[in-house]
């Protein structure tokens, strides 16, 4: 029992944080926001030069093994820079294929996803007609939907792999509040879909991966938002004093740290519980997703507030954190959904 990073985990953290700090700059992010919403050059460097895109994916298909703890470290580092990257698809679709795909599906897609040649996206489907292995219906909103080469769609007990270039697939990109992870609507009309061999395993893997990815991004974003606000509080003078010397301001920052420390425990508890296949894993995942999303939203809102006027300008980065925080809150189940799952675990089903 040792709830601290190993030396290897420390090294991964140092590498990932340094990489994103250097490369995922505000300028590059804003360029991506104004264009398609992904910094493809950054993604390519992450996948090839850094070589961390295979963390948590099987070695026989180009992955580097390791587990969710290591993946969470990377997602935290990317989240700290609100990096416009298709990390979530790697956390959901790629993991679904690895856990529930056929050998052929794994062999075709995992190397491409790990090398960055292909981008994956994943979404739950509400209503979908399935006939003779062909799907018809509309799925929205799909994160990175307009940029994906391959989709994993799922509904309870079922999961399919759909190629973006398959006949009958239409994609409409949306202007999205969080421009660093744009949505699209995907329409399928009699589209050939390949069912995943083990949909249960695939769905469990994409949920664990997705929830941890979002929770870790939220943790990274929240910590960075706090750090930048603390730096501002030390510098900025009002009424003849650094604003960080005003007690109410200090206490607000302290409250942010209190939440972030809990969010940190939540992310690594959940990641570790998944890796160790602990009985607590399900509870930990719901806890991490809901708690970290709330923390990030609270912290990012405070980041705007504590920067004063400059905080709500387009020019300042605060809104990037704020919009990402909002988007994480609703993605893959909102806070009350996840808390209701926890309630069901401790109280039983609602009457």
């Amino acid at each position: 029992m040792e709830f601290a990073f190993t030396d290897e985990q420390m090294m991964i953290a140092d590498t990932a944080f340094a990489f994103f700090r250097e490369n995922a700059t505000s300028d590059r992010t804003r360029k991506a926001m104004a264009a398609e919403g992904i910094d493809r050059e950054l993604w390519s460097a992450f996948c090839t030069e850094l070589g961390l895109s295979g963390v948590g994916l099987p070695e026989e298909h180009g992955g580097s093994g390791l587990g969710m703890v290591e993946f969470a470290i990377i997602a935290e580092a990317a989240g700290a820079r609100v990096a416009p990257l298709p990390m979530l698809g790697l956390a959901t679709a790629a993991r679904a294929i690895a856990a529930g795909g056929s050998e052929a599906q794994k062999a075709e897609w995992l190397p491409k996803l790990i090398s960055g040649e292909a981008i994956a996206s994943c979404e739950r489907v509400a209503q979908l007609a399935e006939q003779g292995g062909r799907l018809t219906g509309t799925i929205t909103p799909v994160p990175h939907g307009a940029l994906a080469d391959v989709f994993v769609f799922f509904s309870p007990g079922k999961a399919w792999l759909v190629r973006a270039d398959a006949p009958g697939v239409t994609v409409a990109a949306h202007v999205t509040m969080d421009q660093t992870r744009p949505f699209a609507t995907v329409t399928l009309e009699d589209v050939l879909a390949e069912p995943l061999a083990d949909p249960q395993a695939a769905i469990a893997a994409l949920h664990a991966g997705g929830w941890i990815c979002l929770a870790a991004e939220a943790l990274g974003g929240a910590q960075e938002a706090l750090d930048r606000t603390v730096a501002y509080a030390r510098e900025r003078v009002q009424f003849g004093r650094p604003i960080g010397s005003f007690q109410a301001y200090k206490h607000r920052l302290a409250d942010m740290l209190v939440e972030i420390e809990q969010a940190r425990s939540a992310v690594y508890w959940a990641a570790c519980a998944v890796d160790e296949q602990s009985d607590e894993a399900a509870l930990a995942l719901h806890a991490a997703k809901s708690f970290c999303a709330d923390t990030f939203f609270m912290v990012a809102g405070n980041m705007i507030q504590l920067h004063g006027g400059i905080g709500f300008t387009w020019e300042h980065d605060a809104h990037l954190f704020f919009k990402r925080a909002r988007s994480i809150q609703t993605m893959l189940g909102n806070g009350s959904f996840h808390r209701e799952q926890v309630a069901t675990m401790v109280l039983g089903e609602a009457a």
Binding site: H174, T176, F183, G240, A248, Q305, G308, T313, F322
Partner: protein, 392 residues
């Protein structure tokens, strides 16, 4: 204590409603329902003039200056009907609600004659130049300089958060006119025409993609010596007087805009099923209660005829509405779900509710942040020790 309206007042309500609805279904139907302050600026200037022509521009002002000497109840009624008819916010609200009353209270007869008719007629649009970069909520640390030169004031410096400066005609600015003075001393309140070579206005894009606010640069900008309100060095006093008008009847019009926003949330919740979620129901009930209490707080504040005494309702009003509205924005998004994060068109432009969510983050900042408001409440309302200034 009496909350109901008299039959005469109800008749006045019908008159307001009839006229406003007629405009919004007739000549001005193209501006009905606009919720931002920037859209269709030119048409809205025409609307200001139309209001002026028909005597509805500033009903609380004295009749002599284009008003109607309206009672409090009448002003309440007009504000309610204005919003109920879907009329967009006043692009000249600074002129009508702040500049005009300030000139009425502190200006000379000559200044009243010079400015009030234009404001009342909707032909003189005013904006406000208080904040400066690096000063934010700290009005006393103004650095923009004014000096008298050849019968004119010459102003140099920079203001920020000058809302709607890009569509305004005049700006009032607080300038430091005494060299070496500090804090609230040595400030002078000036009114300056914006259309001159010495003034440059640059838009500031906000987090919602809109640009209501501006930076305004003064480089040897000029105005006549008698554009000063009060005397040299009276700037702080005038500015404080002006800010008191912010808590006036205009709050009721603002509340009716909030009513429309809340109604839109209620309609959305009914439409998408969120109205069946017990958590959402509690939050909508809280929002409804909060809005009602804001109304009755404002009526209490306005019914308090002893304006020499700052009462609790008036002191707490700003933080109350700003915080309420920020929560309303979060509620709106939670009702909409992920649909709220997708724009309708191809530009980064937002419908009423997502825009409320984004824009309301500014509500707790401009006009004195929530932190400044709490200082004021504690120091003026509860007589607690003042927060000391530093000397950096």
């Amino acid at each position: 204590m009496k909350l109901g309206f008299s039959p005469q007042e109800e008749a006045f309500r019908a008159e307001c409603a009839d006229w406003l609805q007629a405009q919004m279904t007739g000549e001005f139907r193209d501006i009905r329902g606009i919720t931002t302050l920037t859209a269709k600026a030119e048409r809205r200037k025409e609307w200001e003039q139309h209001l002026g022509e028909h005597g509805w521009s500033c009903i609380g002002w004295p009749k002599a200056w284009g008003g109607r000497d309206a009672t409090l109840a009448e002003q309440v009624i007009f504000a309610e009907e204005y919003a109920r008819a879907g009329v967009p916010g006043r692009v000249n609200h600074i002129g009508i609600e702040l500049a005009g009353p300030t000139i009425l209270a502190f200006g000379t007869e000559e200044q009243k004659r010079r400015f009030l008719p234009g404001i009342a007629a909707g032909s003189t649009i005013f904006c406000q130049g208080f904040s400066e970069p690096g000063a934010g909520s700290d009005l006393a640390s103004v650095r923009t300089k004014g000096r008298l030169e050849g019968g004119e004031w010459v102003v140099n410096g920079q203001k920020i958060w000058t809302s709607l400066a890009h569509i305004s005609d005049w700006i009032f600015v607080v300038t430091r006119t005494e060299d070496g003075s500090k804090g609230p001393k040595g400030l002078t309140f000036l009114m300056m025409p914006l259309d001159q070579p010495g003034i440059e206005v640059r838009g500031i894009t906000q987090i919602n993609g809109d640009a209501e606010f501006n930076e305004t640069f003064f480089t040897d900008a000029r105005c006549p010596a008698d554009s000063m309100i009060g005397g040299v060095g009276d700037g702080w006093k005038i500015a404080m007087g002006l800010l008191a008008f912010e808590r006036g009847v205009s709050t009721l019009g603002q509340q009716m805009a909030f009513r429309n926003e809340l109604d839109e949330i209620i309609a959305a919740a009914r439409a998408n099923g969120a109205a069946g979620d017990p958590l959402i129901r509690q939050r909508i009930a809280r929002a409804e209660i909060g809005l009602r209490l804001m109304r009755y707080g404002a009526l209490r504040m306005l019914s308090n005829t002893d304006h020499s005494k700052i009462d609790g309702a008036a002191l707490t009003y700003k933080i109350q509405w700003a915080t309420w509205r920020r929560s309303l924005g979060e509620l709106a998004m939670d009702v909409l779900g992920q649909a709220g994060e997708i724009a309708e068109g191809e530009a980064y432009e937002w419908g009423t509710l997502p825009n409320l969510f984004l824009y309301s983050r500014a509500d707790t900042i401009y006009g004195g942040t929530n932190q400044i408001q709490r200082n004021l409440i504690a120091e003026r309302g509860l007589a607690l020790p003042r927060e000391p200034r530093g000397d950096l």
